[in-house]
Amino acid sequence: MKYLGGRLLHAILLLLAISLLSFALLQLAPGDFFDSMRVNPRISQQTIDGLRAAHGIGQPFPIRYARWLASVARGHLGVSLAYNSAVAPLLRVRARNTLLLTSVSTLFAWLLAIPIGVFSATRRGRNIDRAVGVATSALLTIPDLLLFLGLLLLAVRTGWFPSGGMVSPGADNAGFWKMAGDVARHLILPAFGLAIVTLPVLVRHVRSAMIQVFESPFFRAARGHGISGPRLFFRYALRAASNPLISLLGFSIGTMLSASLLVEVVLSWPGLGPLLVEAILSRDVYVVVGAVMLSSVFLLTGNLVADLLLFASDPRIRVERAE
């Protein structure tokens, strides 16, 4: 419990530091959202100046930061200049979509990686193991962007999958199940792409973790005692191999979120990614800060969950961390 408290405090301090840094960075940025209005002859300079003043642009850094913090405390996360609304509701929808996509593909990737990795480990050095090795290297070298563009091409050319978006027009009031089915159809392609991107690293780690267990004395002893089948696999092998794999789960969240940003933009999944790119191009400062902070919250939460899982699954760590 004390350990959890320490970790939480650390995470919150990190988030504060990140917000301060990203704010300072954006303060340095030349130009602002209203620059694009200046070329419009129908908007007078007074209007622009008024808008600037209303949004506190040009005020000193500590005041803007304090105002933003107050806004965070109220749950608004600042104001989006492009959407003319609070940032929080914008982010909420996008974050939900990103989480849906990443969690489905994480599940998908692990469900594929564990059997493939275990299978490959049990047939170590044989042809099938080598084939898995070659396949993972090949997947690792295909640029993400090429893969996602290829998936988009598949969707556009064959029409088997929707080529973007999250729901078909008019599907929103067709009843819950119809709608869920529609979202699932849109989800297949981006989730598959994301899973493929993370799969090779997972397979490699599952394989090496399993091999390590297979070679360890306790496993040989268990086998020598005549334990076999599912009991040997689940109680002895998988349990012992789970430690590095749980750490990997924590590490892979960052990769997953990064890859998700790209897949969302390419396959126009309405997640945080497209919103962030749009906000950067239009200099919508608070949306940028909000999206970046949120991604960090996801990552830190993921790492924390992985750590707690590790804590629960490995008694050695419980002892070590308790000290």
């Binding site: 070298t141 563009l149 960052g254 950067i280 970046v292 960090s296 990552l299």
Partner: protein, 342 residues
């Protein structure tokens, strides 16, 4: 596979690739900005050895291409064959920005065209643009990776060697960079920089942004090695003989980190090339008319280009062998230095 063989093969492949890119001007039939408005989205030119009568020619040749304006498709125009010529004089270029020349490796006489990877919306040769674009993208990847590993090396060795509050401060700093997903971090920093500035400034900005945000992983790895190297007996002995900190670091400790540093370089370069590609693809990087691998792919954001002109994918496909070579090199380096250090 023999790991020395693996390392050597990947280095040869990488060397060849980089020399090709360096000699872009010589190998490219056309300049990167040469437009041929009548030949927009022309498919890759087919190089023939056998003519319409079925007889074989040792010198490969191409046919002229007819543009059907009605459905904007292209077809070959067989009676007039144009042989490929070696070492032809063409548009002037510079190699490595130093030597001016006009000599190109291959070319065909007008009106035929040699578009090995097809053309883009302005009728520019994609193959030439790929080679020229590689100069920017590869250079960006290499400088940025060197920057990351350099900073990582300095921070990691200082933290590992001195320990104490220096170690604490530096490692808390690197925590910050681990608390953000990599691409989000890249975008956050990119967003603070101006959008529309001259190309060379964009290039410098990109390189420094990409390089500066990636130092924390190499720093941690190098710190770990320095921590254990510091306690080795020969290092302690040298210290006992009165060696200074600078001498210890330079002579005994840093050489032990070279393995990890090289491995990280081989891992980071392809990652950073991809970072440049991603940024330019999204319009946050190097823009027209200067080609980079990212801006070559940016046209694929239009559905009609994506679905109708398959050759626009070829630049991305050509990256696969390059990345494969880098990954193989990183693998081989890792195996090699792991077995040495243990």
């Amino acid at each position: 596979m023999n790991r020395n063989y693996k390392l050597r093969a990947s280095i040869v492949l990488l060397g060849a690739f980089h020399v090709f890119i360096l000699l872009a001007g010589f190998l490219a039939p056309y300049g990167y900005a040469t437009q041929d408005r009548d030949m927009a989205f022309a498919p890759p030119t087919r190089v023939h050895f056998v003519d319409a009568h079925g007889s074989f020619h040792a010198r490969p040749f191409v046919y002229g291409v007819k543009n059907n304006v009605s459905d904007s498709s292209y077809e070959e125009d067989p009676p007039n064959a144009y042989p490929l010529r070696l070492l032809v004089s063409g548009a002037p270029y510079k190699i490595a920005g130093l030597f001016s020349a006009r000599l190109h490796l291959v070319g065909v006489s007008a009106p035929a065209r040699l578009f090995l990877l097809g053309t883009d919306a302005y009728g520019r040769d994609q193959f030439s643009r790929f080679l020229y674009g590689g100069q920017l993208s590869l250079l960006a990847g290499m400088i940025a990776a060197a920057l990351s590993v350099g900073i990582g090396g300095i921070v990691g060795s200082l933290a590992g060697f001195y320990g104490g509050w220096i170690d604490n401060a530096l490692m808390r700093g690197s925590d910050l960079f681990f608390a953000l997903p990599w691409l989000y971090l890249l975008f956050a920093v990119r967003s603070a920089l101006p959008l529309h500035v001259p190309e060379w400034q964009v290039f410098l900005l990109l390189v420094s942004v990409i390089g500066l945000i990636g130092w924390s992983r190499p720093a941690r790895l190098i710190r770990g090695i320095v921590l254990s190297a510091r306690e080795r007996n020969f290092v302690r002995a040298a210290r006992g003989f009165g060696a200074s900190d600078a001498y210890l670091l330079r002579r005994h400790i840093l050489p032990q980190t070279y393995g990890v540093a090289f491995t990280q370089l081989a891992l980071l370069i392809p990652q950073y090339i991809l970072a440049e590609v991603t940024l330019s693809f999204l319009g946050l990087g190097i823009g027209e008319p200067v080609p980079s691998w990212g801006s070559l792919l940016a046209t694929l954001q239009h559905y009609d280009v994506l679905s109708s002109y398959w050759w626009m994918f070829l630049p991305a496909v050509l990256l696969v062998p390059l990345f494969f070579a880098y990954h193989t090199a990183a693998d081989a380096l890792q195996e090699r230095y792991e077995s040495v250090s243990l």
